[in-house]
């Protein structure tokens, strides 16, 4: 595992996490969280945990983003913080 790839993906992950909790639109939060999960999946694939990466790609980046979007669709989209 090359430390350059590791460091770049980790930086992206932290950036996505900070963006997901600071942005004021909940739909953007859901999409940024999907991006965060996908970056996490890449990191695990690089780390050699292929089964965990596969699970995260289908569960974290796929289904849980859909759940968030569905819940935001049924509630409100705007938030104060």
């Amino acid at each position: 595992m090359h430390w350059q790839i590791d460091l770049i993906i980790l930086t992206f992950i932290i950036f996505c996490a900070v963006a997901a909790i600071t942005v004021r639109d909940l739909l953007s939060t859901a999409i940024l969280f999907g991006a965060y999960s996908f970056m996490m999946c890449l990191l695990w694939a690089v780390m050699g945990a292929v089964d965990v990466a596969f699970t995260e790609a289908s569960v974290g980046a796929g289904v849980s983003t859909v759940f968030f979007v569905a819940a935001v669709f049924r509630t409100s989209r705007r938030t104060k913080d």
Binding site: F54, T55, A70
Partner: protein
């Protein structure tokens, strides 16, 4: 509040950062996690279970109890979602569209039966016109996604994958159908009763295989005892037991994902979705 949160977080983070000094160096092969139990799994799993994918071997065989109760937790989550949100009161009024002319009829009361014919279509109040490209692409894509999901479940012994991943992919293909068409299309094809039945069936398949192992006198989930029922090479029987368990996990996870999505997207009324 924000200041207090920042204080707690920095205190907690500082303590954890201090504790990293005692952790083994990153990627150290002789770390405590890699020296006690896992060498046995790595060196003996292929010999004992005939499954090359070590993760599947540990998941479904050595730690079978763990996975069984995880499946039960997933089932309970689906049940909780259903009980929290399911709403059986019918909404007043329904909209029908006469397809040849495009005229929309609004029934204010639900007493009389809505007309059932090919010319009338039940539609939602907040109606969005169908997107032809989206519908066609998804219609072509969905069978392939489902086939891939079955491959992931069946080939989980040899490559990354298994019951959890395959079940989630199969469930997301049905969710894709619900997003690209509408929720009613999915609920007409798979009735709610069938979905509930599948949730239970998945857990039952898992525990059923466990009980089946007890009949010839083995322990619960001791797949090697299944050789009595299966006319195959005794060295391969544990791999087949794992496959059966993975199928059970896949069914349960698939049904639970669809149940959760349907209940959240329609607030439990099962009529209008995303």
């Amino acid at each position: 509040m924000k200041f207090a949160a920042f204080l707690i977080v920095s205190l907690c983070g500082g303590l954890l950062l201090y504790a990293t000094a005692d952790l083994p160096a990153w990627g150290d092969p002789n770390s405590p996690a890699g020296t006690h139990l896992s060498p046995h799994y790595i060196e003996k799993a292929l010999e004992e279970t005939d499954v090359p994918n070590l993760v599947t071997a540990v998941l479904a065989d050595y730690r079978g109890y763990d996975t069984m109760f995880e499946t039960a937790v997933v089932f309970c989550a689906g049940l909780a979602c259903l009980l929290l949100l399911r709403d059986y009161t019918r909404k007043k009024g329904s909209f029908y569209r006469h397809i040849p002319t495009g005229v929309v009829i609004h029934f204010k009361e639900n007493r009389k039966n809505p007309p059932k014919s090919r010319e009338f279509e039940h539609m939602d109040k907040e109606w969005v016109p169908y997107d032809l490209i989206m519908k066609t692409v998804c219609r072509i894509l969905i069978p392939f996604i489902q086939l891939y999901a079955l491959y992931v479940v069946a080939h989980g012994d040899f490559s990354p994958g298994g019951g959890f991943q395959g079940g989630v992919i199969f469930g997301s293909s049905l969710i894709l159908l619900a997003i690209s068409y509408n929720l009613r299309t999915v609920m007409d094809r798979i009735k709610e009763r069938v979905l509930g039945f599948l949730c239970v069936l998945g857990v039952l398949v898992y525990t059923g295989i466990g009980v089946l192992c007890m009949i010839p006198g083995g322990n619960f989930l001791d797949y090697s005892k299944l050789a009595v029922f299966l006319p195959v090479d005794p060295g391969h029987v544990r791999a087949l037991g794992m496959l059966g368990v993975e199928i059970g996990v896949g069914i349960a996870v698939m049904a639970v994902m669809v149940v959760i999505y349907v209940n959240i997207a329609s607030e439990g009324r099962h009529d209008e979705g995303l």
